[in-house]
Amino acid sequence: EAGVAQSPRYKIIEKRQSVAFWCNPISGHATLYWYQQILGQGPKLLIQFQNNGVVDDSQLPKDRFSAERLKGVDSTLKIQPAKLEDSAVYLCASSVRTGGYEQYFGPGTRLTVT
């Protein structure tokens, strides 16, 4: 069984530029999560999808971050414009469905904003 795929693995951009991350969850997983993990901290949930609907986006900075999962499969997370404090690892995870199921994480995208 293939795991959660993410690309790119690394990205360096200047502040005020835009960037997009892609995630392909495990086949058949209805729930997809985007997390931000700042060095030395735990993953912080940015947005959670159930199929192509948003379950929770309460911690997503909506003035600069956006995410979509149009066909209920893969997803993109965009930052526009980026700030220095956005430097972090962006993790995508998926689970069979929402509500207490094991989350499978992808390798993450390490973003550096200079």
């Binding site: 993953p43 959670q48 993790l91 929402t98 509500g99 207490g100 989350q103 390798p107």
Partner: protein, 112 residues
């Protein structure tokens, strides 16, 4: 809102010593999950606890869920260098069933 805390933040042990990390939630949980993240890696699921007072074991790892379902612990017996990493608890609130909150993690170093 719901908060999940973990102590200690860091723990350095000699190989062979035991290790325990504690997780506390500000709200009652429906379940709690534990994940391990190796340096440079991504979180990997270890276990889920659901019942009040539940205890589960995985080889040298023992997981407990408190009676009030607001706290949990992970105990490792006789640590090995392969245990190095950060251990996160992730709690799912009873009041916000779909939301999982990760704790800040406990970073374990094992000195050979």
């Amino acid at each position: 809102g719901q908060q999940v805390m973990q102590i200690p933040q860091y723990q350095h042990v000699q190989e062979g010593e035991d290790f325990t990390t504690y997780c506390n939630s500000s709200t009652t949980l429906s379940n709690i999950q534990w994940y391990k993240q190796r340096p440079g890696g991504h979180p990997v699921f270890l276990i889920q606890l659901v019942k009040s007072g539940e205890v589960k074991k995985q080889k040298r790892l023992t997981f407990q869920f408190g009676e009030a379902k607001k706290n949990s612990s992970l105990h490792i017996t006789a640590t090995q260098t392969t245990d190095v990493g950060t251990y996160f608890c992730a709690g799912q609130s009873k009041t916000s069933y779909d939301k999982v909150i990760f704790g800040p993690g406990t970073s374990l170093s094992v000195i050979p």
